[in-house]
């Protein structure tokens, strides 16, 4: 095999229509151009998915990919990417998750699985190293995620089996259905669970016991010491270990960036009820890491008594905010329980919280009435209602049937001016990153390939005042001070293009953005070293940036091919026209056009259309890919 390390060197192609399984070697040249994970997904799916198809048709292609670092000792090397045409945006779709499934897939001998077609009846894929089997999921269909995964362990008599699965929401074609990963990790966004459900694919169970080699094992272990020291000794890591992402509730409240009442404002009066200390004091049990994760931000939580009694993996910041502050809900036990239900039914908690928050605002404004809701009052903060709605959405019962379409489509169906209360970009709900309080987040959401998203660029260095050293390291001194200022729109075009290039590289390597982006403990120099000792390749920072840029441009080409232009890189009027009413950002709006102009300039994209220029595409070796026009 040509690969010296990091890669399994093999891809698995599953034709669900014909029930055919094919194994094919992974091309080394392709890997050098796109690395793996998100990069490989960008290229292979760009070539395989025809223009203009319905994302729910058998012609959509669903791919799972790990990166060359997945399964090694690199800090947080647990990640996989899943991608397909996005049923929320009708454009590029991808999601990512940690846990143990990605590494298990690599250790079974595969860098990726590509599903085409549609199974006639519900099936699951079972992989035991070289053995691959499409099996009937007749008895699994209808099961909640944890139950289906437990069944795998029983059926195959191996507690080490790792699974990803959809729940009833994916089966019932809920628009924001997610893919649940054992160990409580979720490939949440872009409706990937819906694509899986549309293919009648319930679950992928994997057992992998092969070894994974690296190019320079001794040097690798020396490098691990350097990486681990950097991550563990970063001043930000202590809080991450103690609270995980829940500490963001407190930070976001303090900077007026905690979306509240459907993003009408960025401060929540009742925030103390959902703060990280409340969470830790009342419900926290123990940390639980993902594979090779030294940040240990995952948590077991338990609600010991009452109607919301449950035990399992705890909600993250995004979930607490989506099901909490966005809906005006400060009952943390209810949020934990609702999160648990979202995991069990297999629904993105951001999509779930966002559509409920939208409906609550429509109800408040008299647009949605009890005639529409079957008598239910959609009052802010009604946690009993929220819990009830999760099940109704998953089962598409009554008003749940409308909400299951996601806020963008539900508003189109409802009409009556409800569209302007949808907090989305390109049809996907915005995460809990109120951009009037941090302008870079607004640009990030507008330009992200998969629709509204904070992770594609993940601008976090300007969030607080703690990363001044890293801001200089990442962006140099030329763009100071504005680049580090939350409320300034200036130089954010440069920032976001820089971040996107780095971020897609991280997802392509199969590692976590925690440790590589926040805290920014590891950076290009560490990635260069990791590639050298893992794959045996010598690369420069310039070359890596070009790989990132190539992936971003290919994602963009996918979107351009589907008709996306500058006008789609937009934000809801609320964020660009209505001044923030409260807190630190009071009076602020997002100066999106100004930032977009700057962004396109750094991208080398046409300012009017938002299309990559021929010159840029040629420079990145994407001229062939651009020939659809």
């Amino acid at each position: 095999m040509a690969f010296k390390g990091g890669y399994a060197g093999q891809l698995l192609y599953i034709d669900l229509t014909k029930e055919k399984i094919k194994k094919a070697p992974l091309d080394e040249e392709l890997s050098k151009k796109y690395i793996g994970g998100a990069g490989l997904a960008a290229k292979l799916l760009y070539d395989m998915i025809p223009k203009g198809i319905d994302p729910l048709s058998p012609r959509n292609v669903l791919g799972f990919f790990v990166g060359p670092l997945t399964g090694t000792l690199f800090p947080q090397a647990s990640r996989y990417t899943v991608a397909a045409k996005n049923p929320l945006t009708n454009a590029w779709g991808e999601a990512h998750a940690g846990g143990f499934w990605g590494p298990e897939l690599k250790l079974a001998g595969y860098d990726g699985i590509i599903f085409t077609g549609k199974a006639k009846k519900p099936v699951y894929l079972f992989i035991d190293n070289d053995e691959v089997e499409i099996r009937s999921a007749k008895n699994l269909w209808g099961m909640k995620t944890s139950e289906a995964m437990d069944r795998m362990i029983e059926i195959h008599k191996d507690p080490q089996i790792e699974s990803v699965a959809i729940g009833p929401a994916g089966e019932n074609l809920v628009r924001f259905a997610c893919i649940f990963t054992r160990n409580g990790r979720v490939a949440a966004r872009s409706g990937m669970g819906l694509v899986m459900g549309s293919k009648n694919l319930k679950l992928i169970a994997v057992r992998g016991t092969k070894g994974l080699d690296v190019a320079q094992p001794d040097e690798y272990l020396d490098a691990v010491k350097v990486w681990y020291d950097k991550v563990l000794n970063h001043p930000y890591t202590e809080g991450r270990v103690k609270y995980g992402t829940t500490e963001l509730i407190d930070l976001m409240q303090s900077i007026g960036r905690l979306p509240t009442y459907n993003m009408q404002q960025g401060v929540f009066d009742e925030w103390e009820n959902i703060s990280c200390d409340t969470y830790r004091d009342k419900y926290f049990l123990r940390p639980r890491a993902d594979y090779a994760c030294i940040q240990r931000c995952g948590r077991f939580v338990s609600v010991a008594t009452g109607p919301y009694k449950c035990m399992g993996k705890g909600p993250e910041y995004e979930c607490i905010s989506a099901l909490g502050s966005k809906c005006g809900n400060s009952n943390l036990a209810a949020i934990i329980y609702t999160h648990h239900l979202c995991d069990e039914y297999g629904m993105d908690s951001i999509g779930t919280g966002s559509v409920i928050a939208w409906a609550m605002e429509c109800y408040e404004k008299g647009i949605l009435t009890e005639k529409d809701t079957g008598g239910l009052a959609f009052n802010w903060g009604d946690h009993e209602l929220i819990v009830k709605l999760v099940e109704m959405i998953a089962k598409r019962k009554e008003i749940g049937n409308l909400l299951a379409e996601g806020s963008y489509r539900a508003a189109k169906k409802l009409g009556r001016g409800s569209e302007k209360y949808v907090m989305h970009v390109k049809g996907q709900d915005m995460a809990s990153q109120e951009p009037r309080a941090q302008k870079s987040m607004g640009l990030a959401a507008a330009t992200a390939a998969r629709g509204a998203d904070h992770l594609y660029a993940f601008p976090v260095l300007d969030e607080g005042q703690i990363f001044t050293k890293e801001i200089k390291q990442w962006y140099g001194t030329k763009y100071l001070p504005e680049i580090g200022e939350r409320l300034s729109p200036k130089n954010k075009g440069f920032m976001i293009s820089h971040n996107e290039n780095y971020s897609v590289l991280i997802e392509s390597l199969g590692v976590c953005k925690y440790g590589t982006m926040v805290p920014p403990a590891l950076y290009y120099e560490d990635i260069i070293r990791a590639i050298e000792v893992t794959m045996g390749w010598k690369v420069t920072e310039k070359e890596l940036k070009k790989i990132g840029e190539r992936i971003v441009n290919l994602n963009r080409l996918f979107n351009v091919r589907e008709g996306i232009t500058r006008k789609d890189d937009s934000l809801p009027d609320r964020l660009t026209k209505e001044p923030a009413p409260l807190g630190v950002p009071k009076g602020q709006v997002v100066e999106l056009d100004q930032m977009l102009d700057e962004y396109y300039k750094y991208r080398g994209w046409d300012k009017k259309t938002g299309k990559p220029t021929k010159k840029k595409l040629k420079e990145l070796g994407l001229s062939e890919e651009a020939k659809f026009e």
């Binding site: 000792l73 016991t209 994974l212 594979y291 090779a292």
Partner: protein, 163 residues
């Protein structure tokens, strides 16, 4: 006094770094079955337990070995397998009451912890200090201390003392 490898399961976060570094150090690859340590997950009770050779004083593995391939290292007191003598009969795998000896199908040999000649890699890499390598008396005294760390708080509760 030789040191012992102490496992504090209450601190383990289940990242499996100990497994990975063990196989990488001994066999230059990442492979669980070539590791002398394994973490077992108990999601129902939110626990992870690292399982590793206890270096028993009355080792069942040594007793059943038909070719005397298992002996105790004089310096570290670790039970080590002499692979020149080992015939791969797997009797030690069956005999170990902890399942701490694993047979690897590729290497065709039993795998167990050898305490890395007195400098265990798993202890050095563990991010949550669930693994320690210390003299027996020190280790247990430290554990005792830790287990009563909350005692002052409890006493306050009992006596009704404030502050």
């Amino acid at each position: 006094m030789p040191k012992i490898l102490i496992v504090d399961a209450s601190k383990c976060v289940g990242c499996r770094d100990c497994e990975l570094v063990c196989s990488a150090k001994h066999y230059q690859t990442f492979k669980s079955s070539l590791s002398g340590i394994a973490t077992i997950k108990f999601d129902e009770i939110s626990r992870d337990v690292p399982m590793v050779c206890q270096q028993c004083e009355k080792p069942a593995c040594q007793a059943v070995c038909p070719v005397n391939a298992i002996s105790r290292d004089e310096e570290t007191a670790a039970l080590v397998i002499n692979y020149d003598l080992c015939i791969g009969c797997k009797a030690c795998v069956s005999a170990c009451p902890f399942g701490a000896i694993h047979f690897d199908d590729e290497e065709k040999r039993p795998i167990k912890c050898d305490l890395c000649d007195g400098d265990p890699e798993c202890v050095k890499i563990c991010p949550s200090e669930a693994l320690k390598y210390e003299e027996a008396d020190k280790a247990t005294m430290a554990k005792r201390r830790e287990s009563i760390e909350h005692l002052p708080e409890l006493l306050k509760l009992i006596t009704g003392e404030k502050g």
